[in-house]
């Protein structure tokens, strides 16, 4: 009995000792961890240091020396923005930059958290048209009056438009990325087509596609793997019909008309009637995947972003080096039409570091960075004047097509209700492809359901 009591006492004391030792150990471990970097004026959270130390005091040549900026971006920007443009920014301003990145598909989820918690841990945020329209009013800083007018005046019209939502500007564009037409000249030759001449109209595109399809291979691939990619596919075809999908005040959807029908019948034709579009497209959500199939030599032509040309010319990324050609997208009623995929950066409205954030926005549209965007990354610059630069003309032949493409419509129809509207479009487009709805039935449904999405949003907004 006595032994039992002794064991019991020992057990409880041991527990106390263990708990105490555990607590001390935990504190010791925490103390061994790296001390967090000093918070930026905006309250920036610790993040990967993208630049060398910049602790020197401010001077005329480095006006932000000793200051810190936290950039929130996407992984696909790391190789260019983080590794090239950010060090250049530090060199110019003296500011240290902390870099945070997530996958491109995860940006929205993170922004939802930013808004909900009024998070100021990042000062500058990546954006694109759809994101900009969605988060402009609640997350991005309105820079309409604070940005230098001469910088805005120098932008390409499409890039300026993409960062403007209901007449307010919420960021600066890094590029004028928009889809162009890309084809494999070897496959054209093998199909008996002129390898130097792309289709001039949608009818020719379908005709060429028929010749490029067969033996289990499809001439082209359009992405329909999720709401965004499916909507982009519809828009990229619709934009060459001459129609306007949304009213300028974003309150009225107009899709159930001759223009909508032209686009939907075109989709029906390539997937169902002519069977020239790879049905696997319904599972592909990323243009990156689309580009990989083209670069493997398995696809005759597609609507591609210009930097895909650079990848097609890179030996370790492509099996068709020297065979890719670029032109403008063959249109349905207009000669052409496209969809923009341009990206840029905006200032977090909750950041207390907005002055430095603005300096970064000005940095990305500087001639030096814009030339790097064009020649190093292969993306069309957002500053109009850079297209004429001799180096750019020599190193980026695909921009000739981009410049031509900019003459035709390329709106992305970004809006705060983009995701819901896109989901309605892709659901009905898939119904047309799997034969459960005719193009007209699908449009009638999109018009009704899509308008309801819009009405619901504005009811909530009011």
């Amino acid at each position: 009995m006595s032994d039992q009591r002794s064991q019991e006492r020992l057990s409880r004391r041991s527990f106390l000792r263990l708990a105490g030792a555990g607590a001390i150990g935990a504190v010791a471990l925490a103390a061994c961890g790296q001390a967090p970097p000093a918070a930026a004026p905006g309250g920036a959270a610790p993040a990967a240091d993208a630049t060398a130390g910049a602790a020197a005091p401010a001077s005329a040549s480095q006006p932000f020396a000793g200051r810190e900026l936290t950039l929130f971006s996407a992984q696909h920007h790391a190789a260019h923005v983080k590794d090239v443009y950010v060090p250049l920014f530090t060199e110019r301003t003296g500011a240290k930059v902390n870099w945070i990145e997530v996958g491109g598909g995860d940006v929205e989820a993170k922004y939802a958290v930013f808004v909900a918690s009024e998070d100021a841990s990042a000062d500058v945020l990546i954006g694109w048209e759809a994101i900009n329209a969605k988060y402009g009013p609640t997350l991005f800083e309105d820079i309409t009056t604070s940005v230098k007018p001469e910088l805005v005046a120098g932008l390409t019209p499409a890039s300026k438009r993409a960062f403007t939502f209901l007449d307010k500007q919420y960021g600066m564009p890094l590029d004028t990325n928009m889809a162009i037409f890309m084809w494999n000249s070897d496959l054209y030759k093998a199909a008996g087509l002129d390898p130097a001449v792309p289709p001039q109209s949608w009818a020719e595109f379908v005709d060429h596609s028929k010749k490029l399809s067969g033996d289990g291979k499809y001439a082209t691939l359009f992405t329909l793997g999720d709401a965004n990619s499916g909507f982009v596919t519809f828009i990229s075809i619709y934009n060459s019909t001459g129609g306007t999908l949304l009213s300028p005040d974003l309150r009225t959807l107009t899709v159930d008309d001759q223009y909508g029908l032209m686009a939907m019948e075109a989709i029906h034709d390539i997937f169902v009637v002519s069977k020239v579009a790879d049905p696997a497209g319904v599972t592909v959500a990323s243009s990156i995947e689309q580009g990989k199939i083209f670069r493997a030599g398995n696809m005759g032509h597609y609507f591609a972003f210009p930097n895909h040309f650079v990848l097609a010319e890179t030996p370790d990324q492509s099996q068709i080096v020297g065979k890719a050609r670029t032109g403008i997208i063959p249109g349905i009623a207009l000669r052409s039409g496209s969809v923009n995929g341009l990206e840029g950066y905006a200032i977090n409205r909750f950041s207390g570091n907005k002055e430095l954030g603005m300096a970064f926005l000005e940095h990305i549209v500087s001639p030096e960075v814009q030339k790097l965007v064009a020649t190093g990354w292969g993306r069309p610059p957002s500053v109009q004047a850079i297209f004429g630069d001799a180096d750019v003309v020599a190193k980026a032949p695909q921009f000739a097509a981009v410049q031509e493409q900019t003459k035709y419509p390329s709106p992305r129809y970004g809006s705060p209700f983009y995701t819901d509207l896109a989901a309605v479009f892709v659901e009905q487009t898939l119904a047309v492809i799997d034969g459960t709805a005719s193009p007209q039935e699908a449009l009638t449904k999109i018009q009704a359901d899509g308008q309801k999405v819009i009405d619901d949003y504005w009811a909530k907004a009011s």
Binding site: L16, P137, A285
Partner: protein, 316 residues
């Protein structure tokens, strides 16, 4: 003065002495405090916060402000077509997942219960899917059924069962079926393990008695094994139902909810509402309904187990 003397002779007990004198029940409660605190901070508070959110309209595309909605979010959910379709899809997915996983696990457990050469190795092999993270499982199955490079296409094509490689995820029913099989594959080891443990505890005497009564293998399985496994099978069904209703990560990596909305289960719809539509109030209401559904189905376990078959009750 006397009081002072008493205080001197009986000093205040130390913390460890007080612990020693503490009753078992109180000491047990004391030990529970850290866990209770963790549960309070990481479970109860977020749950309460989410429950509160579900009563407000929070539209982050408009403003971060919370506007009182009362039961409005719940009422609008019940009338939403996407929710009804997603609920039906979720129940179908759960039925497929439960049916396939429990029957496969039962088969695997019966097999592993039989003596054969390499049984130990086979038991380890069956456990492997359990060690795979759901996200990895999603990617793995996505590539298995890839339209251009998938192993399934290659095998079926080589065997002459399909004329050409096909796209598996272009049809919602097929995509749901593949997602259910992937989930079943992932959870099969756990179920097989608990069924195997129960199988090994069935008294051999029951089988001997059955043999003496002239029962063959099928009859022994039907009249001895299955009744003995009843409890564990009900547990497996309910556990698997809960897993199926909670499925998100595997679906996210396997189909991303596609084609269209074809594999958007309720849990995925919560994600869409919270992180794509930015309607936090609606998402919270939807999550509350999903939790209620899971709790209701989970609560059926003890009821089902307690409800013994009539014949068994009469006998016993």
């Amino acid at each position: 003065m006397r009081t002072t003397l008493t205080e001197r002779t009986e000093p205040r007990p130390s913390l460890s002495q007080r612990l020693d004198r503490m009753g078992e029940a109180r000491f047990g409660l004391l030990l529970l405090i850290p866990t209770a605190l963790v549960l309070l901070v990481f479970l109860a508070l977020p749950l309460a916060y989410a429950a509160a959110m579900s009563l407000f309209r929070i539209e982050l595309t408009v403003s971060p402000a919370w506007r009182w909605a009362g039961p409005g979010n719940y009422i609008s959910l019940l009338g939403e077509r996407a929710v009804r379709e997603s609920l039906a899809r979720t129940l179908a997915f759960a039925a497929l997942t439960v049916g396939s996983s429990v029957s496969l696990a039962l088969g695997a457990a019966l097999l592993l219960n039989e003596p054969f050469r390499g049984r130990g190795f086979a038991r380890v092999l069956v456990l492997l899917p359990w060690a795979v993270a759901p996200v990895v499982a999603g990617v793995l199955w996505r590539y298995l059924f890839h339209s251009n490079y998938g192993l399934v296409n290659a095998l079926l094509y080589q065997a002459g069962l399909i004329p050409a490689y096909r796209v598996w995820f272009d049809s919602a029913p097929v995509a749901i079926l593949i997602a259910a099989l992937a989930t079943a594959w992932k959870t099969l080891p756990f179920l097989a393990l608990i069924i195997l443990a129960r199988l090994q505890s069935i008294p051999e005497a029951l089988y001997r008695a059955a043999r003496m009564d002239g029962a063959g293998a099928v009859a022994r399985f039907r009249h001895v094994t299955l009744p003995q496994l009843r409890g564990i099978l009900i547990f497996a069904v309910v556990m698997q139902t809960i897993v199926a209703l909670q499925s998100f990560d595997l679906i996210f990596t396997l189909t991303r909810g596609g084609p269209g909305q074809g594999t958007v289960l309720l849990s995925y719809l919560v994600f869409i509402n919270a992180f794509e539509r930015l309607s936090l109030g609606t998402a919270a209401a939807m999550a509350a309904l999903l939790t209620l559904l899971i709790v209701l189905l989970g609560g059926l376990t003890p009821l089902l187990i307690a409800r013994r078959p009539r014949r068994e009750r009469q006998d016993g």
